[in-house]
């Protein structure tokens, strides 16, 4: 059609193209041959949602015309991003509308698995898919029950006391890797479903991401979460970005960091690579991967040497002034009984009669700490104890460990020059408040937990904790990894961070606690409240100090948590009959024992332990450290893998069954970002084709499992086995073990008001309104349930009925309110206004407290608790106020619950042992021996790590070399922490260990290029390579290599190289840049290369899988893989390799 013959009307129709058109004559004609969506958008809706990518949690407004999302822009009302977005969030409509979205379930017809194999997908219906899953699961579950019966469990026994009905969560043959992308409600249901199935074999990518953060931070501060928040960063006066690149991975966070710079803050970037964040740096230092603990310890030492440490803070808020009893092997903090009637402030001594930790006074006495004013406490001291034992303060031990980390030693280890290190240390320690942001560069190491402890100690020593502009800002990755973590889609805890039962004794004790009336006494004398003897051993169900949110409920942590599940899930934990816990049958509908964490789970699946393995929104074959072995495990596993995802990913390619899922934009629900804000997203459009929400998937699976007898509770099995016994009966005539009545009923959401108890789990699942699964109602019902079942999320829902009884809910206004839905930017008077806490926007845990460990923030929470937190003065923490009476929000001392021992609510400079439950690291205390096979006869004594009496000083963190290190001499001084792990053998048959020594390369074998990985701004994990606008910006896989190094290899930008480790190899295009380069380690020069990890054989933009080179060795505490540090060889690619990558778009292999 000739342009000249366009009518004026048609001309206008083609003009402009954007949603907010008001078409007026005289506008430009910019040309638009594509369908005129602007005509549709005149009727468009604007729906607020939250971005699906990173954990900043930016608000997005989707413009929806005729049910289709035509644009996704920043939400101007969301205070996190104020209408701005990064390129990924901005191009979300490409994810929503992509023709490459999965739309039907698929089943494999080609039994051979591999990237070069065509799975031969056959389209099936959801019904067929669920039937198939049932066919696979039923025999596996039946076999497991038979196995337990063979061990005298799950069966009737003549002697009641020997009857045990419970699953083994570690052995259950069905595993699941859940997602960090789905909503909180779905995460919660995923965990709930697996738990009541009988399996603790459920984990998700938080394990390979911030598991070491949780281990380190929880054991130091109390919570394992990011302490401050993004808007708060503008108040920092000095910022360190280390092991993280927020400008690329969390670009909108840089809005607030940039604001800090505008306010005069200095930015320091410590990174192997000059990253996008370094463009904003005042100081940049190139550091070797995995050596950050040395940097932190060095800075801490520098602070103390220059008298810049915050003595008041250390005395008031940490265990620094406490005495260590070093003659006991596990270095117990010295305790004495507190006898005074008043504390040093003259207030009633709440610790009278209780053993508390002792401090050394200036006069050289040993006294209970509540009785000693701070000025009389000694920070540097050792003395002789009452029994003649040698006693040192924690602080003394800290300084003796830090002594090693001189500037020269830091330089020798890290590659920073002495002058560069001192420039950094001087700037950082002389400016307050200072904050540190970090991510995978610090967490993904075999020494991750220790490394992060070093960071925590630095911040405590400088007094940067609990203050606006300070904190340890562990920035999480995925949009709902925090939520999935809180819901414990993890193998070692239950939702809200509640312990998993591990012994019959615990269950019996729990029944005793229930029988005693579920005592909620919040006496600060910490008296034991239930004494219980079992098998001749005395146990004490002690009252314990808990996290802040539990202060007013008065329930003990674990017991309270289990009770919540009983009420919300319709399960039973206890003994039958209930009256005699000592002699009755033990029944637990919660399976015992920690399950398999993610890397281990992949191996378990690979070796046939899991008969069915679900991967929900996870792409392990690309993103796992040591992905080369994951590829083998997934390709050769005898069991069946079910992948649920929105795209056909690399992992989906290796699955037996693929389920098409809705993206978060097609669902409503709550989502928790990195600083714990629980926001709400509204559904923008329907999921494409036959794809479904995860909520729908879990509902359908529950139903199918019940119908086919796959899911049977141990309590149900018990009742079936004992028809002769009398059980309570619910109004529907169903037998149950406990009929919960009275004030324990939670009639949340009004739906089941009046329906007492939860005797049967079906009731739970049925009341998620099935027809409304894809719409608002079902998800919101789960939200309300989470509010009750998950202690940590208590207070995220304000119940609306008058007279509703609960100690934690507001009940004044007759309105049901989901606090996550709040969209107010109004700041409250006081600390909110002063520090932009946004307390009226959405909700935050715990109890809407935005800055953790800040007294004033504690006091201004939303839930109108009976106990309000008072502060003496209104200053942010950091200024000692001495408040000891009502309202002191004590920190938890750590995650290990010690029966009968006391808590003092202090941050732990000395953290005894951050091993997770059950791990035996006794060998560590008896001196280390190096047993790395290829260096026989050497004894790595780690001389630097020895404390008094020749015992390793674990309680204070040190630097540990990565599993693959560049310099053997240095590694002898700082042996790899992974070598400590006495249980190095995995439990599988054959020679398989958690890492194979065969697959660990040494410098003597020529692996002498330092390898590291990083994130691109334009891509998010493996999520975005079907989105053309992002592919345009970053089209191909590459490595960054120094031009000098490239010249040595005979390559330049645009050429190809081969990178190989002992585990695998990849071919990559070269980007020569000075932003990576040489490191001088122990006086020897090493090259480093850095690579993005987003690419794989699938999608529109393909590339080699970087992680085929990386190593999967894990941190013994946190089980996080050492994805971020290994050694490699680099060489020019051969012509054949170049031809292969040019043809396929990727080329990688496994050794």
């Amino acid at each position: 059609m000739s342009k000249l013959s366009l009518s004026r009307r048609e001309f206008l129709k083609m003009a402009g193209m954007s949603p907010l058109l008001a078409l007026t004559p005289g506008l430009a004609n910019l040309g638009e041959k594509r369908p005129p969506t602007q005509v549709q958008v005149l009727n468009a809706k604007r729906v607020p949602t939250i971005c699906t990518f990173c954990a900043v949690g930016c608000g997005i407004i989707a413009t929806v015309a005729d049910g289709k999302v035509v644009d996704t822009e920043g939400d101007p009302y969301n205070p996190l991003n104020e209408g701005t977005l990064c390129p990924k969030g901005r191009s979300s409509m490409q994810l929503i509308n992509s023709p490459r979205r999965l739309t039907t379930p698929l089943i494999r017809t080609n039994p051979k698995k591999g990237f070069e194999e065509d799975p031969g997908w056959r389209r099936i219906t959801w019904g067929e898919a669920l039937d198939t899953i049932g066919d696979w699961m039923k025999p596996a579950v039946d076999a497991e029950i038979a196995r337990l019966k063979g061990m005298n469990m799950m069966s009737k026994n003549a002697s009641k006391v020997d009857e045990v009905y419970r699953f083994d969560g570690h052995e259950f043959p069905v595993g699941c890797i859940g997602s960090a992308v789905y909503n909180n409600e779905e995460a919660y249901l995923n965990r709930k479903l697996w738990t009541i199935l009988g399996s603790n074999n459920i984990d998700h990518c938080a394990r390979k991401c911030h598991a070491s953060t949780v281990a380190a931070l929880a054991n130091t501060f109390g919570f394992g979460a990011m302490t401050n928040h993004f808007l708060d960063m503008q108040y920092a006066k000095v910022i360190i970005h280390q092991g993280g690149n927020p400008a690329s991975a969390h670009p909108v966070a840089y809005r607030w960091l940039r604001m800090a710079k505008d306010n005069g803050a200095k930015v320091i970037v410590i990174d192997p690579r000059f990253s996008h964040s370094a463009t904003q740096a005042d100081i940049y230092g190139r550091v070797r991967v995995g050596t950050d603990a040395a940097v932190f310890n060095g800075i801490t030492k520098y602070a103390i040497d220059n008298n810049r440490h915050n003595v008041d803070f250390l005395v008031e808020n940490t265990n620094a002034p406490l005495l260590l009893n070093t003659s006991v092997y596990n270095h117990v903090l010295y305790t004495v009984e507190s006898t005074a009637n008043t504390d040093y402030l003259g207030n009633e001594n709440l610790f009278k009669g209780v053993k508390v930790h002792a401090v050394l006074t200036k006069a050289g006495q040993i006294k209970p700490w509540p009785e000693v004013p701070p000025e009389d406490r000694q920070l540097l001291a050792q003395t002789t104890g009452p029994g003649g034992e040698n006693l040192q303060t924690v602080y003394r031990v800290l300084t003796s460990v830090l002594d090693n980390y001189t500037s020269e030693e830091v330089s020798r280890i890290t590659g920073l020059s002495v002058s560069k290190f001192e420039e950094i240390a001087d700037t950082y320690t002389s400016t307050k408040p200072g904050t540190v942001t970090y991510a995978m560069g610090l967490t993904q190491h075999t020494c991750g937990a220790q490394l992060l402890r070093a960071l925590c100690l630095m911040q405590l020593t400088l007094g940067n904790m609990g203050v606006p502009g300070g904190g340890v800002n562990a920035i999480r990755g995925q949009n709902n990894v925090q939520g999935a973590t809180d819901m414990l889609v993890l193998c070692h805890l239950l939702p809200g961070y509640i312990a998993i039962p591990s012994s019959d004794v615990q269950v019996r004790g729990y029944q005793a606690w229930k029988n005693a009336g579920r005592p909620t006494d919040l006496s600060r004398t910490m008296k034991p409240i239930v004494d219980f003897t079992w098998n001749g051993v005395d146990y004490v169900a002690g009252e314990e100090y808990d996290n802040i949110w539990y202060m007013d409920t008065g329930t003990t942590r674990t017991n309270g948590g289990w009770r919540r599940y009983e009420k919300a899930w319709g399960v039973f934990i206890g003994t039958w009959p209930t009256s005699d816990p000592e002699n009755s049958a033990v029944i637990s509908d919660i399976p015992y024992n920690v399950g398999h964490p993610i890397i281990d789970a992949d191996r378990a699946f690979g070796h046939g332990k899991f008969k069915v393995y679900f991967e929900i929104g996870d792409n392990g074959v690309v993103t796992d450290g040591g992905a080369a072995s994951v590829y083998m495990e997934f390709s050769e596993a005898p069991g069946k893998m079910v992948v649920a995802d929105i795209w056909d990913t690399e992992t989906a390619h290796l699955a037996d069954l693929v389920l098409p899922m809705a993206s978060v934009y097609e669902k409503n629900g709550s989502v928790s970002n990195s600083p714990r804000w629980v926001q709400y997203r509204w559904k923008t459009s329907d999921p494409p084709g036959d794809s479904k929400s995860d909520l729908s998937l879990f509902m359908k699976m529950y139903k199918m499992w019940r119908q086919r007898g796959i899911l049977r509770l141990p309590s149900e099995l018990y009742m079936d086995d004992h028809p002769e016994e009398d059980f309570p009966v619910d109004p529907m005539g169903r037998k149950c073990m406990e009929y919960i009545t009275g004030d324990e009923i939670w009639g949340f959401n009004g739906t089941l008001k009046g329906q007492a108890g939860r005797p049967c789990p079906d009731l739970n699942w049925e009341w998620y309104a099935e027809p409304d699964i894809e719409n608002m109602k079902a998800s919101d019902q789960v939200y309300a349930e989470m509010d009750d079942a998950v202690g940590l999320y208590d207070g995220q829902y304000r119940a609306g009925h008058v007279g509703y009884k609960s100690s934690v809910h507001a009940y004044d206004d007759g309105r049901g309110e989901m606090l996550a839905k709040r969209r107010s930017n109004t700041l409250r008077d006081g600390i909110d206004k002063e520090y932009s806490m946004m307390k009226n926007w959405a909700w935050c845990w715990p109890k809407n407290q935005r800055i953790l460990y800040n007294k004033d923030d504690c006091g201004e929470n939303d839930t109108m608790n009976p106990v309000t937190f008072k502060t003496v003065d209104n200053k942010p923490w950091g200024a000692p106020s001495g408040a000891r009476s009502n309202g002191w929000p004590y920190w938890r001392q750590g995650s290990t619950f010690w029966w009968g021992k006391e808590r003092t609510g202090m941050a732990r400079i000395w953290a005894q042992d951050i091993a997770s439950a059950g791990k035996d690291t006794t060998a560590a205390y008896n001196g280390w021996t190096g047993d790395k096979p290829d260096v026989p006869g050497d004894n790595f004594t780690g001389r630097k790590l020895m404390g008094p009496e020749g015992k390793p000083v674990i309680g204070i963190p040190e630097h540990f070399e990565p599993m693959e290190y560049p310099n053997t001499e240095l590694a002898k001084d700082y042996p790899c922490y992974g070598w400590l792990y006495t249980n190095r053998d995995s439990e599988y048959e054959g020679n398989d260990k958690l890492w194979d020594w065969d697959k660990v390369g040494s410098p003597e074998e020529g692996y002498n290029v330092v390898w590291g990985s990083f994130r691109l701004t334009e891509h998010f994990h493996t999520f975005t390579r079907n989105m053309t606008l992002l592919n345009e910006a970053q089209p191909e896989y590459f490595i960054e290599i120094n031009p000098g190094h490239a010249a040595e290899l005979g390559v330049d930008s645009g050429d190809y190289v081969r990178i190989e480790s002992k585990r695998g190899w990849v071919i990559a295009k070269v980007r020569a840049t000075n932003r990576v380069g040489k490191l001088k380690i122990n006086n020897v020069d090493y090259w480093e290369i850095m690579t993005p990890f987003h690419f794989g054989p699938k999608g529109l933009a393909k590339g080699s899988i970087a992680n085929f080179v990386s190593i999967g060795a894990v941190d013994p505490h946190a089980k996080i893989p050492e994805t971020k540090a290994c050694m490699c060889k680099v060489m020019k690619a051969t012509d054949d390799e170049i031809a292969a990558i040019k043809e396929k778009g990727y080329h990688q292999g496994v050794y």
Partner: protein, 301 residues
């Protein structure tokens, strides 16, 4: 042998030249298409390169808002992250990356290494060269700043691409006309900011009046920073501030002298008028000659 020309045919023959002149006259009459505007009313954008974190949200937002498709790209041989690397009919915004220096452990600050990104698009010149040279008047500068265009009027001559100091306007094969950044006039008209400005997380791009923009840039220059757009080719609406010289991004040095666009424009209009007059004259001469010939044939005088 020529046939007698009908009236219709006459008009048709003269029609081609008719097309040009009225547009030119129309433009002058409306006043909107004059290249020189009152500064006070105009909008501008300040791009502070130092604030940019190279996220390319601006690049993506431009394509998202304007419904432009992605190009197929590949890693460039200079190793930089710039992608796409050229303006085209479907790429109106590109982000230039430039790394400068080498890292030295012993040097304070960033060790001598610098990496900067520049968000680049049509600069909406005060006196746009593209407007001046366009023979069909397809391009014009609106009174508040944006340099806009009408694809129907574009004849694809390519003069604007050549005349633009940065080669911004480009022919779009599908639309058969040049296309380029429009300063999101449609958003501005709704009280919004251009898509790239609105999306930028670090406020590296800031929307304001041209007067404020010039003031900001002048202050920056006084404090020792580099600027671009205060004087170049008579000044642009998009003004850049940087701590590295602009030639590092590939932006050429330009004097403040313009292409005398005003005069060129008039030249084009005179040419148009000239064509009309000339065309009419030729037609008249031809008619006369033919008439003379036919009279001669009929027997002549």
């Amino acid at each position: 042998m020529t046939e007698k020309m009908s009236r219709k045919e006459f008009l048709k023959a003269a029609g081609a030249s008719l097309m040009v002149a009225p547009l030119a006259l129309e433009g002058l009459e409306k006043g909107q298409r004059s290249p020189v505007q009152e500064l006070g009313k105009q909008k501008g954008v300040v791009v502070d390169v130092r604030r940019c974190i190279g996220c390319k949200a601006c690049q993506v937002a431009c394509k998202a808002w304007n419904k432009l498709p992605a190009e197929k790209t590949e890693i460039t041989t200079d190793g930089e992250y710039t992608n796409p690397t050229y303006f085209s009919g479907i790429t109106w915004k590109i982000v230039h990356f430039k790394e400068i220096g080498d890292y030295d452990n012993e040097v304070d600050g960033t060790g001598g290494l610098k990496w900067r990104m520049l968000s680049d698009n049509c600069k909406h010149c005060i006196e746009p060269s593209c407007v001046s040279v366009c023979p069909s008047g397809a391009l014009w500068k609106r009174s508040d700043g944006p340099v806009l265009y009408d694809v129907d009027r574009c004849i694809g001559c390519g003069y604007c691409t050549m005349a633009c100091p940065w080669g911004v306007p480009h022919f779009d094969d599908e639309i058969h006309a040049i296309r380029k950044c429009t300063m999101c006039y449609d958003r501005i008209d709704q009280g919004l900011e251009p898509a790239c400005v609105s999306v930028c997380p670090t406020d590296a791009l800031k929307f304001m009046t041209l007067e404020e923009a010039k003031k900001t840039a002048t202050e920056a220059e006084a404090s020792g920073l580099y600027t671009y757009g205060l004087d170049e080719v008579g000044g642009t609406s998009w003004i850049y501030i940087s701590d590295i010289p602009f030639h590092e991004f590939g932006l050429p040095e330009y004097t403040s002298v313009t292409q005398k666009g005003y005069e060129t424009d008039l030249l084009v209009k005179f040419a148009g008028a000239g064509l009309f007059v000339g065309g009419a004259l030729l037609a008249a001469i031809r008619l006369y000659v033919e008439r003379r010939e036919s009279i001669a044939k009929e027997g002549g005088d």
